[in-house]
């Protein structure tokens, strides 16, 4: 039977709004305002999961995002399923289904629980030590590890939700809306700073909003009442934006922060549709005020992980905020006064508190006196040495602590209980602070790391800066606000605070037991099952750096990044190694503070927005004519145009023959185009290309090769002189942006004296490349009055002319070896130009061809494609293109490097042609080339860079780079493949029309 532990009506939980949800298949009820954790606790459910390594039963420990244990999978089997969700953060809604993770077949009976009994054989580093040797055994271990490790299951269907990104700018960002965050935001906004206040919870006020401790007063009111009034006032303040359910995930340099705003996770399925689920806020703040609070520390003692063992502060929150008692027989274990507040909260609601075990010798504060008066037994100077109860705590055993706190004495007392609240002091939440690059220092007295050296405009206030008492918080906050906002007065000047003074603390990182450490299980990292003895083992085995101990023991490496136990791990290392904690430093806290969904990270960049496609102005025609497309950089280029179910090979063979036999047409709009103007334009080209440009006449075109300063080929293309001081340069499709960037770099930084201006015009022109023996006749039909004779319009020259009313720039240049023209028009006329060409070419069977045929035709001619036949290690000499390297020019980019001893080596890889002895075998691009087959190790001479079956030569052809290939003409080599060796012969890379007769055909 489930008990109802709802003990008090709470203003934050709406008892008129009953909600049913499922946990591990069973229906439970809670109320609007409950988290999954508070609703389960109200139903007396503590056991929610199994631990990672030993599969020990685990319960709910906390009430917030630091939860290490209560991690669930929600909505399994739906497309909204999500793993590794903290039950303490899920707001329940009608229809919510949650289930335990890391257990099989069920959380009640988990086979992996055997690991718990095997634990003497699973010490720290067990996985490293065992599974890494011998290496060949990994395959056998892998199955076991993959099945026993891992938390939840990721969704397998498409995420139905919408995610969004937003850029946010503000003067002041306040992170955390507890008492200090609220006061800071209020004063910032009132002083005309555009302020943004964010908090991960759905209610403002942090822990003060349910602080009903009668011994603390602000302006004569109990803190919760006083703060409610402050929050009410916030609503009327201008300049202030408040975002709840918004968790800051990352704090980068220059006050750039990423926050996730949760918009629909608390709604039931029918209300989630067509809404943005989560929004990533990219915040750039002039000033950041961190009010991230503090996390309560557990205490480290034997078997401190059983369901029913919780943080004392969480018990208080469940009692005061959710109106839920976490147990019927409660015990607290503490080293400071805060457990007494939790005990008092339960006592005031009539819930049984059996005892308080306090490791201190005494405390005389008002609240301790009150507890004594209430007749609750306090065991001073005692420690818990063991607990019992496998799936739910049922007793604790205590003994008296020795004076030095290192051992226990006297007789054992057993106290029966079903819930234990532990209070080990407070750890300031400095995670975001350190992410920003700011540095911490260790406060030996308070035993906390505190903000020390800020790197950006930021302050930390409240408990994240080490102020734990309301009077300290308000006093220090007031001064910090005045300093950072440069204001003289604040609301805080006249606030009167009375507080109950705590007068003793005691800190023991690892509490002793009556058993030796080796026989106990004091957990430090609950999620990863790292115990104090694992940490000591790591130290014994020689690990010293905190980062190494962390990785070896996996302490702090779970999804919670060890928010609860990291300080204890450090303390235990310091005590054991005899060093000061401040000298050890901390491990690095990395973003995100709490996990982010992939959806939030990618936002709207999904589907067709994942990467941007560029399409040419002629694209629609290609689509209408059933072209297949290939991606070239961001461009979608027509690849080939299959007719009547042709395969790619068939289509390419047909297109290639047509282009050589009659006429072909290619959409060349994607080629990069840079407009170059200025009185030094010719000199500029002289410096960036390997060949000479000064003597190029107006109206003429020239092929150019561009190198990097290291002498390696970078890009190529034809540049045309349009006027005395005006050129248009074409670049490769993929290289356009980089070439422009490189040219700008030289112009601005090395040669600022040159009068040259560069403008990218790639998108401004559409280009149709008309080629083949009938191209001239087609162009004649299009422009009857243009003299196309070789005398007037020779190869490598340029004319301006009109087709109808469309102005054209026509270059007679060729990448196929055929007589051909590149016709450039304003982009918006591209499709019209293309159609006119197709119409005029119809009688010549003009054939549109794609990039594959273009590649084949140029390979027949031995023309290189930069990036396919070159790879950043090829000089023009390696490419056998010595003819294009000017000997006369004093300098050009990369020239000096062509004379380095390494680039002058004779045995560099050089571009050659390759013919297979069997003309029907087409080599694979990338295949390796060798000269001897029966040698071991086999020596690789090079590889195939381009390979096709040439329909015009009726044989297979290939380009390859081969070590010393230049001097190997006619030599027999081999291309070894998986199941055969292919015999090949080194050949001239120009396979077709070596004398270039067809250019003028």
């Amino acid at each position: 039977m489930t008990k109802n532990l709802r003990v008090k009506t709470s203003e934050y939980v709406d008892e008129t709004n009953r909600i049913s949800f499922k946990f591990n298949g069973k229906i439970y009820h809670g109320f609007k305002g409950d988290t999954l954790a508070s609703a389960l606790l109200a139903n007396d459910v503590h056991l929610v999961g199994r631990s990672f390594k030993y599969h020990r039963p685990r319960g709910i420990m906390t009430s917030g995002s630091e939860e290490p244990n209560a991690i669930v999978q929600i909505n399994s089997g739906t497309n909204r399923t999500e793993p590794n969700i903290r039950a303490t953060e899920v707001e329940i809604y009608e229809g919510l289904e949650a289930s335990s993770q890391n257990c099989w077949p069920s959380v009640e009976f988990d086979i992996g629980g055997l690991n718990n009994f095997l634990s003497p054989f699973l010490p720290a580093g067990f996985y490293y030590k065992t599974f890494m040797w011998p290496a060949s055994f990994w395959e056998k271990y892998e199955f076991f590890i993959r099945h026993s490790a891992g938390l939840g299951k990721s969704p397998t269907s498409i995420d139905p939700d919408i995610y969004d990104h937003r850029n946010v700018h503000c003067d002041v960002l306040v992170v955390g809306a507890g008492i200090s965050g609220i006061l800071a935001a209020k004063n910032a906004a009132k002083n005309n700073f555009k302020t943004l206040l964010v908090d991960e919870k759905n209610e403002l006020g942090g822990s003060t909003i349910y602080e009903n401790n009668e011994f603390n007063k602000i302006d004569n009111k109990i803190p919760s009442e006083w703060l409610k009034k402050e929050i009410e006032e916030l609503k009327s303040i201008k300049n202030l934006e408040i975002k709840t359910r918004t968790s800051v995930a990352a704090y980068h340099q220059y006050n750039y922060l990423l926050a996730r705003e949760n918009l629909t996770d608390h709604l039931e399925a029918k209300d989630k549709t067509n809404k943005i689920r989560q929004r990533l806020l990219k915040i750039r703040a002039k000033k950041v005020i961190l009010a991230t609070g503090a996390l309560e520390r557990p205490l480290i003692f034997n078997n401190n992980d059983r369901p029913g063992i919780m943080l004392s502060s969480a018990i208080k929150k469940y009692s005061e905020f959710y109106g839920v008692a976490c147990g019927s027989k409660n015990v607290f274990f503490t080293n400071n006064d805060s457990a007494y507040e939790s005990a008092l909260s339960l006592y005031n609601k009539g819930i049984n508190v059996e005892a308080i075990i306090d490791i201190r010798e005494q405390s005389e504060s008002k609240i301790v006196k009150k507890i004594k008066e209430a007749g609750i037994q306090i065991y001073w100077s005692h420690s818990i040495i063991d607990t019992t109860g496998y799936k739910r705590l049922n007793s604790v055993s205590i003994m008296k602590l020795s004076n030095d706190g290192a051992s226990v004495t006297g007789s054992k007392i057993s106290i029966s209980c079903d819930c234990l609240g532990v209070a080990g002091g407070w750890t300031p939440a400095v995670h975001l602070y350190t992410q920003s690059g700011s540095k911490l220092k260790f406060d030996e007295e308070k035993k906390v790391f505190l903000p020390n050296k800020n790197t950006s405009e930021q302050i930390s206030i409240g408990s994240c800066s080490g102020d734990f008492k309301i009077d300290e918080i308000i006093k220090n906050l007031n001064q910090k606000l005045k300093d950072t906002l440069n204001i003289k007065e604040t609301d805080l000047d006249n606030i009167k605070v009375e507080i109950d003074q705590e007068n003793s603390k005691r800190n023991i990182w690892l509490l002793p037991s009556d058993k030796p450490l080796g026989k106990t299980k004091p957990f430090v990292d609950y999620q990863n099952d790292a115990t104090a003895k694992d940490i000591k083992l790591a130290l014994r085995e020689g690990f010293r750096s905190i980062e190494h101990v962390k990785r070896y023991t996996t302490t702090g490496m779970g999804t919670d990044q060890g928010k609860l136990g990291n300080m204890h791990a450090l303390g235990i290392i310091a005590d054991t190694a005899g060093v000061k904690m401040g000298e050890l430093g901390t491990t690095t806290f990395r973003p995100p503070y709490t996990p982010l969904t992939f959806g939030t990270i990618v936002g709207r960049n999904v589907g067709k927005f994942f990467d941007i496609f560029r399409r040419t102005p002629i694209n629609d025609w290609h689509v209408e004519n059933k072209a297949e497309f290939e991606n070239v950089g961001q461009w979608k280029r027509a690849w080939y145009y299959p007719i009547n179910g042709e395969t790619m090979h068939q289509a390419v063979q047909r297109e290639s023959k047509a282009a050589r036999e009659s006429a072909g047409i290619l959409d060349a709009s994607t080629l990069g185009k840079i407009d170059i103007q200025g009185s030094d334009a010719s000199e500029f080209l002289n410096r960036v290309y390997t060949n000479a440009w000064s003597k190029l006449a107006v109206g003429k075109c020239r092929y150019g090769l561009m190198l990097n300063e290291d002498g390696m080929v970078y890009d190529d293309g034809v540049t045309t002189r349009l006027g005395e001081n005006h050129y248009i340069m074409t670049t490769t499709t993929g290289g356009a942006a980089n070439v422009l960037g490189k040219l700008e770099d030289y112009l601005q930084t090395e040669w600022p004296e040159l009068d040259v201006y560069l403008t990218s015009v790639t998108d401004h022109y559409a280009t149709a490349s008309l080629c083949g023996p009938n191209s001239k006749k087609i162009l004649k039909k299009l422009i009857p009055d243009l003299d196309l004779s070789d005398e007037n319009f020779p190869h490598m020259s340029f004319k301006e002319a009109n087709i109808g009313s469309i102005q054209c720039r026509i270059m007679r240049i060729s990448f196929t070896g055929e007589h051909s023209y590149e016709i450039n028009v304003q982009a918006s006329y591209g499709k019209d130009l293309w159609k006119k060409c197709m119409e005029a070419g119809q009688e010549f069977n003009i054939t549109p061809y794609g990039t594959e045929t273009m590649h084949l035709l140029r390979a027949e001619k031995g023309f290189i494609i930069v990036g396919q036949d070159t790879d950043g290690t090829m000089t023009p000499i390696d490419l056998q293109m010595d003819w294009i390297v000017s000997k006369k020019k004093y300098d050009f980019i990369g020239k000096r490097s062509l004379y380095r001893s390494d680039t002058m080596r004779e045995d560099r890889k050089q571009l050659v042609g390759l013919l297979t002895d069997d003309p029907n075998i087409v080599l694979e691009e990338g295949a390796q080339i060798v000269s001897e087959l029966n040698k071991s190790p086999i020596e690789m001479l090079g590889h195939v860079t381009s390979s096709y079956f040439s329909p015009n030569l009726n044989k297979s052809i290939a380009l390859a780079v081969v070590r010393g290939g230049k001097d190997m003409m006619g030599k027999k080599l081999f291309v070894p493949m998986e199941n055969k060796n292919i015999n090949v012969t080194v050949a001239n890379p120009v396979f077709y029309d070596e004398k270039n007769k067809r250019l003028n055909a």
């Binding site: 980068h252 340099q253 220059y254 006050n255 750039y256 750039r284 690059g437 790197t455 300063e709 290291d710 960037g741 700008e744 770099d745 601005q748 930084t749 090395e750 600022p752 004093y890 300098d891 020239k895 000096r896 490097s897 004379y899 380095r900 001893s901």
Partner: protein, 91 residues
């Protein structure tokens, strides 16, 4: 994510910029006169300091202008930004 004060456009997000390596390495005026070692020094050898470093940056997705930056690589503090051709500030 840096906030970079482009000398031509003002403060912009780092994602608009491209880093261009060490600053004040002038391309030799007469490369052909240099030995292999001297040329290699220009071509390949760069400092990689933990501390104050002089760097070239380009406002690639903005005005496309190159400029110089003095940055402390140990904490990413941008100490100074100045135009190409201007003298480095004495640090």
């Amino acid at each position: 994510m840096f906030l970079i004060n482009c000398p031509y456009c003002g403060e912009r997000d780092q994602q608009e910029f491209k880093a261009g390596g060490e600053a004040h390495i002038e391309r030799p005026k007469q490369p052909t006169e240099l030995s292999d070692d001297e040329w290699a020094e220009y071509l390949f050898i760069r400092k990689n300091i933990k501390g104050v470093q002089f760097e070239r940056w380009n406002h690639a997705h903005g005005c496309r202008k190159w400029f110089n930056m003095v940055r402390d690589t140990s904490n990413d503090e941008i100490r100074e930004i100045y135009k190409m051709g201007e003298k480095p500030p004495s640090q």
